[in-house]
Symmetry: C2
């Protein structure tokens, strides 16, 4: 039986100035040498326990990034997507604060705004689109966007992150109730935002037990009114 | 590079007397010869355009079933799940009316209630659990359960299907409003349920354009009150 090429790809998303960006790597090998593409690579059957571990290894080896949270997105497969032959890409996505990517200083890694993406090799554009769809549909009822924040954030800052992903204003009262329901945040003792005209805002962070998992509420957020 | 075993598996779910059942096939080959397992098989790189087509082919060839709706569930992978070596199972699921399975008369195909499942070969029990979780989480805000119904159904019948999956009563008014919002049903002209003490109920069916796709509303169903 002819064998199938088995690879993993990672869509690493971050937020800068209210826009979602994706991390791309310059390919140093054929096919598509010299093109910017998602970090990806072959599964190594000796080294990797499973595909998730392969994705983590590839991200670390090729981009120098360790992500705290990788979720399986979907598997893209078929005869047409890779010039080398019938292939499978088990794709993962992660949301990280932009600092995680920006502190990696290498010229073969760049962040591109997702609405500026044009051509990507293989079916990577489809993979990014699927990731965006997943993130947007999950964001309205889960803790997912919190992973885009730095370690400490105020509730208004967090609301801005949700609004950037959902691309619509959110009602403040509804937002705070939803965060309450999720029960994943804790105030950082003694940490308040100062130097603004408004009342100082309390800083929050993810409770320790939620730093590597996703929490969901039963219902979505209501649009602002 | 050592190659990866690339397979597809299908979780075919149906509803009988208010309980979800999964279709299992008797394995006629090693490994696990003589065990009941999910219909599955190797990707054939010559025959299959992609993994979804492979899943459809396997289901038809091995179980004699053509499903109108296969959705990718997730990919299960790793060194430990298959005694033959490092393997990938790109898994799909489908919901079908029980008649679709019951009209296949073969002794190597059976339906087992999902809450009666004990041991399954490979990680098939995990795959079934993931399918159930997906179906339950999607059902409250999508047309997914309609695929379990026969071609025509009354709204009370359809509500029973949703309740069987969600395992909770649904408020009748909320249910009808949700179906209205989805906009996927059309009344069958001149078809009403008769022979019952109540007012005769109108029969509905999926509109033609939705027979192969899934529709979603923004919000879930409310529990009955």
């Amino acid at each position: 039986m002819e064998s199938v090429i088995c690879t993993v790809d990672v869509v690493l998303l971050t937020l800068r100035e209210g826009n979602l960006y994706v991390a791309l790597l310059l390919r140093d090998k054929a096919p598509f040498q010299g093109a910017w593409a998602l970090p990806g690579g072959y599964v190594h059957v000796e080294a990797d326990e499973d595909a998730e571990q392969a994705a983590g290894r590839v991200l670390e080896e090729k981009a120098g990034i360790v992500s705290p949270y990788l979720e399986q997105l979907a598997t893209f497969s078929g005869r047409a997507r890779d010039p080398r032959g019938w292939s499978v890409s088990i794709s993962y996505y992660a949301l990280v604060p932009s600092a995680v990517i920006e502190r990696v200083e290498r010229s073969d890694l760049r962040l591109v705004a997702v609405d500026q993406l044009k051509n990507l090799p293989f079916d990577h554009l489809n993979i990014v689109r699927a990731a965006l769809e997943r993130v947007r549909s999950k964001s309205s009822y889960s803790s997912l966007p919190v992973y885009l924040c730095s370690e400490q954030f105020t509730l208004p800052q967090l609301q801005t992150v949700y609004e950037a992903i959902l691309k619509e204003p959110i009602n403040k009262v509804s937002f705070r109730r939803k965060m309450e329901e999720l029960g994943i945040l804790e105030p950082v003792l003694g940490a308040v935002e100062t130097g603004k005209a408004n009342r100082p805002a309390q800083y929050y962070r993810l409770k320790a037990q939620y730093r590597h998992t996703l929490s969901q509420t039963g219902r979505g957020l209501n649009p602002g009114s």
